[in-house]
């Protein structure tokens, strides 16, 4: 990315809601079942069938909206008309110009803020597998198989303002959004199972200008990594065009993960005319204020609030380890450890670096390890080893340390090793005393060798400084 250009990115994130049943019928909403087993006249769109809105889906959609600081407004459903074999009715029931959640914002761990335009409800389509040629796409395929288990699964589409200005920020936005969706119980947000899918709109403009350039929309982004790669690629492609004096064509582009490039799917002129009109088989949706209040009151603490609280308790500023600890759901553990007397910064760092994707240790035991380390009874390396064991197998930190031979050395043993090292290396000592501070490492190394790593590096340094006067 050249500094002369700025990315302008808006994201559309589709997330499947974690309801027990589909949006308009009582079929199971489940991933991975035998194809075409969770189907009925309604989600197959059989003649004469009619949709009935799932109340729990509305509640989860409201949770998403309230968590994104949206206003929950009276809304209606529209029909989005187009032909595709995995769409049983050949129209999709979706919200259009009167969505349930309007406005809002998402605050990212780095403190930046991305506006939310809307978060509306819609039904998912079935899933088509194109077989025999065509590289998995419909054109050139020999035949296609359709699984309607996913047809009618409730989705919320969260549309951001074009407030995102880098691929990293886009990735951070999606990660933050996923944390929120999981935190409020709206979705499992598993991208690998397709329960969270992203379309990205991107345009480029000269740095320092405000006008919006012509955008392209990239479809088929099903991982945060793909999102980042596709945006970087598309930015380079657009800059290339613009710097060559050519125009970016407004179009929908397909991301090819293997080739690492985007390619044109359809231009603005070829864009579908969806012929939206209000869905006459459903009535207006107006969640009563009392219901909204109930849903809002039941929302758990959201990641941004949890980060603020964690930073405050740990006595640190907002930073990467705070974000990691919250994202990994380790914040309650760290706070408990601090409340049990552990050092905040140390607790954060150890949690962020040693406990990610590990079973949660007992908070008291975690605090004990941290206190042993702060008190000099364990070296950093030893503390990490004890923590690893504690997380995997549990147990008493003191006992684990003893079993590993990590008993802290008595102070005089360390002092004696320091003195022996000084005596054995008078030349180096002279230079150290003369101000060559980096030689501390040399002596710490000697002491560590002599004590087989059991000495605390910090204590050794302190002793060296005392001896040097």
């Amino acid at each position: 990315m050249t500094a002369a250009w700025e990315m302008v990115i808006g994201l559309e994130v589709h997330t499947e809601l974690a309801t027990a049943t589909k949006l308009f019928c009582s079929c199971r909403n489940a991933f991975g079942d035998e194809p075409n087993t969770n189907i009925c006249p309604v989600c197959l769109g059989l003649p004469g069938s009619l949709p009935v809105l799932n109340r729990h889906a509305v509640e989860l959609a409201m949770r998403v909206g309230l968590a994104l600081q949206s206003r929950v407004e009276p809304s209606i459903f529209h029909r989005k008309n187009y032909f595709y074999p995995d769409m049983p009715k050949d129209y999709q029931v979706s919200q259009y110009d009167q969505p349930i959640n309007v406005g809002g914002a998402l605050e990212l761990p780095d403190g930046s803020r991305v506006g939310i335009t809307r978060a509306h409800m819609e039904e998912d389509t079935g899933k088509t597998t194109h077989v025999g040629g065509g590289g998995g796409r419909i054109h050139g395929a020999d035949h296609s198989l359709v699984d309607y288990n996913r047809a009618g699964v409730p989705l919320v589409e969260i549309v951001s303002e074009p407030d995102i200005h880098s691929a990293d920020q886009a990735k951070a936005y999606v990660n933050e959004l996923r944390s929120i969706l999981v935190a409020v119980g709206a979705s499992d947000a598993r991208m690998e199972e397709g329960s969270l899918r992203i379309d990205a709109n991107i345009s480029m403009r000269r740095a320092g200008t405000d006008a919006l350039g012509t955008r392209t929309e990239i479809k088929n982004l099903n991982s945060v990594r793909s999102l980042g790669r596709a945006l970087e690629y598309e930015a380079r492609r657009q800059i290339g065009l613009l710097e060559a004096g050519e125009a970016v064509v407004q179009e929908t582009r397909h991301w090819n993960e293997e080739e690492g490039r985007t390619s044109s799917m359809r231009s603005k002129e070829e864009a579908y005319d969806y012929r939206y009109f209000p869905e006459p088989d459903l009535v207006a949706l107006e969640p009563p204020a009392a219901w909204q209040a109930e849903v809002g009151a039941a929302l758990p603490a959201l990641p941004a609030a949890r980060r603020a609280r964690l930073a405050e308790v740990a006595g640190v500023g907002a930073g990467e380890s705070v974000a990691t600890v919250v994202q990994q759901g380790l914040d309650r553990l760290v706070i408990a450890a601090v409340e049990a007397g552990a050092d905040g910064r140390l607790a954060l760092n150890r949690a962020a670096n040693e406990l990610v994707n590990r079973p949660l240790p007992d908070p008291t035991a975690f605090a004990t390890v941290l206190k042993m380390e702060s008190g000099g009874r364990l070296t950093a390396t030893q503390a990490k080893a004890v923590l690893a064991e504690l997380a995997e197998s549990g147990g008493d930190p003191e006992a684990i340390a003893r079993a590993k031979g990590f008993e802290a050395l008595a102070g005089d043993v360390v002092a004696e090793a320091v003195d022996q090292a000084i005596v054995a290396h008078p030349g180096e000592w002279g230079r150290f005393v003369g101000g060559e501070a980096k030689l501390a490492g040399f002596f710490v190394g000697k002491v560590m060798a002599a004590t087989r790593g059991k000495a605390d590096g910090k204590a050794v340094t302190r002793l060296l400084q005392e001896r040097a006067g």
């Binding site: 006249p41 004469g48 009109f277």
Partner: protein
């Protein structure tokens, strides 16, 4: 025999349901070849069902208010395991895996289903000539149409094939054929009867209703099929109005308005019958005068945009992928095209194209949007009228039954036969067509009574007065 009499006799053991159904099957055997009221006659099933009703009576049980009553249902109502064609080739071979809510309610009331009736394809038409399986003829004069789109249901009742029948009414498709065949046809308030299992034409206008030989039979059938259904989101969540007890309450003191805007373009003999009906209501104690409901004159144009727009979307699903007809093509788009070209008739294609156009980007506001604004005006003008009147009176159709083929080359002339019936669909209000004598040609004339939402009871009181005065 009326449905009320049949149910009374069967419940009381005076007649067997089997005996009743055999009479009706005999009538069908005698005249169905000439009239073609049915797409499918369910003779064996009807006999088995009648025997079941008789067993229940013998066991001391009450099979319900329609015990042993032979009924016919329009072929756009889903019947489990029984072909449901909408008189279209596109549904070739399709058997619904479920019953429409109204079909379930008929069965639970003890009715005996004798067949699925012919109709204009997907209920698009006013003569039952737009059927893929050939037209139905009017039992009163087989050279004439029975009206449509529920022409098969109207003919079945008029010919004595069934005591009552169900139709669907999107712009007059129950009332217009009822008028042309000389039977009673009732379109209920939108939402009073569940649409679950009614193959949609225009969802915001479609409503299922009964056709019967008498007002009391239509009321009885409506009581059976009405009531909230959680499977239809537009179903009214309250108990339906009670009807049977009020039919003889008369019209003394009711204010009834003859709608001036719907008297233009009406044949003189039909207009004369409306005037005679007004006089009869006045003689029974109602206060009748002329009412103006200006927006009703705009109804037809708005209707043909809203109905076709919704139809273009509702009929998209007939694409050859999952059920019904499939005509193979080189790729999926060609298969869609070939299937729909072969499966739909000319009128259905015409309306899909009209509706697609009305919803297209750049035209939506001028057509669909404007039509919805007219719809709002129609509702507003009705509301204003009902501040001064309890009921409104109009002709049901501008003329008596026309000859087969008379309007098939002129879609607009055909559309105009619905001018008086369409406003009730736009407003979601109930309306009933009651036979009231004959025209100069000796063919039946129907007059129409309109009421505000859920005004069925008052409306049927007046219908009963007209029925008594006309016979």
């Amino acid at each position: 025999m009326t449905a009320l009499e049949i149910a009374r006799d069967v419940r009381g053991g005076a007649r067997s349901a089997r005996e009743v159904v055999e009479e009706h099957l005999a009538a069908i055997a005698f005249r169905e070849g000439e009239l073609h009221a049915f797409n499918l006659v369910l003779a064996d099933e009807a006999r088995a069902r009648a025997d079941e009703v008789d067993r229940r009576v013998a066991a001391g049980e009450d099979p319900g208010p329609l015990a042993g009553v032979p009924v016919a249902v329009k072929d756009n109502l889903c019947t489990r395991g029984v072909p449901t064609t909408c008189s279209s080739r596109i549904l070739d071979g399709w058997r619904p895996p479920y019953d429409a809510t109204v079909v379930t309610r008929l069965r639970e009331a003890g009715a005996v289903l004798v067949g699925k009736t012919n109709m204009d394809e997907f209920a698009m038409g006013s003569s039952t000539e737009n059927s893929a399986f050939g037209p139905t003829r009017n039992p009163r004069d087989p050279s004439r149409v029975p009206g449509g789109s529920s022409g098969g249901s109207a003919a079945a009742v008029a010919a004595g094939f069934a005591a009552v029948a169900l139709g669907s009414d999107t712009g007059g498709s129950i009332r217009q054929p009822a008028a042309l065949c000389g039977v009673v046809g009732l379109k209920p308030t939108y939402g009073l009867v569940s649409r679950y299992g009614l193959v949609a034409f225009a969802s915001s206008l479609d409503q299922i209703g009964p056709l019967g030989a008498t007002v009391a039979d239509a009321a009885l059938a409506l009581e059976v099929i009405a009531g909230h259904d959680p499977a239809d989101s537009t179903s009214i969540p309250q108990p339906p109005p009670a009807l049977a007890g009020v039919l003889s309450d008369g019209v003394d003191g009711l204010r009834i308005g003859i709608v001036r805007e719907l008297m233009g373009g009406i044949d003189a003999d039909v207009a004369a019958r409306v005037a005679a009906a007004a006089a009869a209501l006045e003689a029974a104690g109602a206060k009748v005068d002329e009412a103006s409901v200006p927006a009703l004159g705009l109804g037809l144009s708005a209707y043909y945009l809203i109905a076709t727009a919704e139809a273009s979307s509702n009929l998209a699903r007939y694409d050859g992928v999952r059920y019904g007809l499939r005509v193979d093509g080189e790729d999926i788009t060609a298969m869609y095209g070939a299937t729909r070209a072969a499966g739909f008739g000319a009128e259905v294609k015409r309306r899909i194209m009209l509706g697609t156009y009305a919803l297209s980007a750049g035209y939506y506001d001028a057509y669909y949007g404007q039509a919805q604004r007219v719809r709002t005006l129609v509702i507003r003008d009705f509301e204003a009228a009902y501040a001064s009147y309890d009921l409104l009176l109009t002709p049901t159709t501008p003329s008596t039954a026309f000859l087969l083929g008379a309007k098939t080359d002129n879609p607009l002339a055909m559309y105009l036969s619905d001018v008086c019936t369409i406003p009730s669909n736009l407003a979601g209000h109930p309306a009933v067509s009651v036979p009231y004598g004959t025209g100069d040609d000796g063919l039946p004339v129907g007059v129409q009574l309109l009421a505000p939402a859920l005004g069925e009871a008052t409306m049927l009181r007046a219908a009963a007065v007209l029925e008594a005065a006309g016979s």
